[in-house]
């Protein structure tokens, strides 16, 4: 299966998580689905990578050192060049208020941890297909 878009370009996804195992699993899974994946290990790194590579989509863990996922999302939204990049938050929290907080910060969707890889992939496809 290939996720190449109409122009034949491989979509780029930025994945950020401070848990190396989870990050690798997310990245591997997305790469296998045909996306190019840029990895980041904390919030600050994710923000820098987003500004530099301008990916097609960003998958952000909520709890990361240096800057949390909400903060990164807000910073992305505040910046002209990155304000339109869709963001999916990976959240370990179960409270509804946290989900709301994610949407308030400007996230497009969220996936709850523990998550199912199929679910993550279909959310990613849904968002990228929509555009």
């Amino acid at each position: 299966m290939s996720a190449d878009d109409a122009a034949g370009r491989q979509p780029v996804i930025l994945a950020a998580d401070d848990d190396e195992d989870i990050l690798e699993m997310v990245a591997f899974r997305l790469e296998r689905s045909g996306y190019a994946v840029v990895r980041a290990h904390d919030g600050a790194e994710a923000l820098a990578a987003a500004r530099e590579t301008l990916p097609d989509l960003i998958v952000l863990d909520v709890m990361m050192p240096k800057m949390d996922g909400y903060e990164v999302t807000r910073a992305l939204r505040a910046d002209e060049s990155t304000s339109r990049i869709p963001v999916i938050l990976l959240t370990a929290r179960v409270q509804d208020s946290d989900v709301q907080k994610g949407f308030d910060a400007g996230a497009d969707d969220y996936v709850r941890k523990p998550f199912s890889p199929q679910e993550l992939r279909s959310r990613v496809q849904a968002i990228l297909g929509r555009r």
Binding site: D21, I22, E24, M25, F28, R32, K113, P114, S116, Q118
Partner: protein, 333 residues
């Protein structure tokens, strides 16, 4: 003189101890480096397995198999659904589940704790009977680890024994609560029964968990608990009603705003904020204006959710309390 020599020898022993510890650390570090190296090599295979790709798992040496299992366990902690089932199937096929079940009967406490904990990460339902038996273990750590694992596996048959162990104070309440949250809605029926338990701590915990796990129609049993003899139960019931958003309970919660215990009034105010609806505004306004700190603060926050415009208006009036003023200021951020 002998004293001096004795103590000097002790000092030397201490130094030798440090050196031994250092050597131990280096051994651990080398082992970790080896683990990382193997993990990098096996990561692709592990993710294949998790993804349900058909590639067969290659023959692994004993240390490799350990690292591979460790990788899968780490993934299992972040995964659910089919991926999680595939991991469980792998551990069943390799005999790891049966081995850990045997370890639950070990004489050494550490082995039992490790087994009880590890079985949860493997996620195999085959381990459930053994884990249920481990709830009777003489070590609280084994009981807690087994509880956690039963939660991770989502074993509905664990609801009753876990609650019983928690009630008998054989388990920390937080551990039992977390496991029941993992098991989810199947636990609600039992919890509703516990709302009538004789111990107020149990009633309060049950009310809190019903609020977190229940559906809207589970709320029916809660309003009577707003008149419970224990303030903890009254407060927990109010919080639960708020979480479940049960609009039917609005009037009872309004009545609870005049409870004689401040933190019960505060919980009722917060719940009314979550449920919403303007019929509560007059009572909340009264609490926000006149009550003591915590209930008044919660009432002002609740009003800010229900009717922001009202809060901004009343905050400008002369009889506004500090809480209404704060709520208005926060609304205008």
């Amino acid at each position: 003189m002998t004293l001096f020599i004795t103590i000097a020898v002790l000092a030397l022993l201490g130094a030798v101890g440090v050196l031994a510890a250092l050597a131990h650390r280096r051994r651990l570090a080398r082992r970790e480096a080896r683990r990382r190296e193997i993990a990098t090599r096996l990561r692709a295979v592990a993710i294949d397995l998790v993804d349900g790709e058909v590639t067969p798992v290659p023959r692994l040496s004993a240390p490799e198999a350990l690292v591979f299992a460790d990788l899968l366990v780490r993934y299992a902690r972040g995964l659910r659904g089919q991926a999680h089932e595939r991991i469980a199937a792998y551990f069943e096929d390799t005999g790891a589940v049966d081995r850990e079940v045997r370890h639950l009967g070990s004489r050494r406490e550490r082995v039992r704790v490790e087994a009880a904990f590890g079985l949860g990460d493997m996620g195999s339902a085959r381990a459930v009977p053994a884990l249920l038996a481990a709830l009777e273990d003489r070590s609280v750590d084994v009981r807690a680890a087994a509880t956690r694992s039963l939660g991770r596996i989502g074993a509905t048959e664990a609801v009753e024994p876990v609650i019983a162990a928690s009630v008998a104070q054989r388990l920390p309440r937080a551990v039992a609560g977390a496991a029941l949250l993992e098991i989810g809605s199947p636990a609600v029926g039992q919890l509703l029964v516990l709302l009538g338990h004789e111990d107020p701590h149990v009633r309060a915990d049950a009310a809190e968990l019903v609020g977190l796990l229940g559906a809207a129609n589970d709320a029916d049993a809660l309003p009577t608990r707003l008149r419970d003899a224990s303030p903890d139960v009254r407060a927990a019931s109010a919080v639960a009603l708020g979480r479940l958003g049960s609009a039917d309970a609005r009037d009872q919660l309004v009545a609870t705003l005049s409870d004689r215990v401040p933190f019960v009034r505060a919980s009722a105010a917060r719940a009314l904020g979550q449920i919403g609806g303007r019929t509560a505004t007059a009572a909340l306004l009264d609490v926000a204006r006149r009550d003591e700190f915590d209930p008044a603060a919660e009432a002002a926050r609740a009003l800010a959710r229900i009717d922001p415009a009202l809060v901004i208006t009343v905050a400008a009036q002369s009889d506004a309390s500090q809480h209404l003023v704060e709520a208005a200021d926060r609304l205008l951020l």
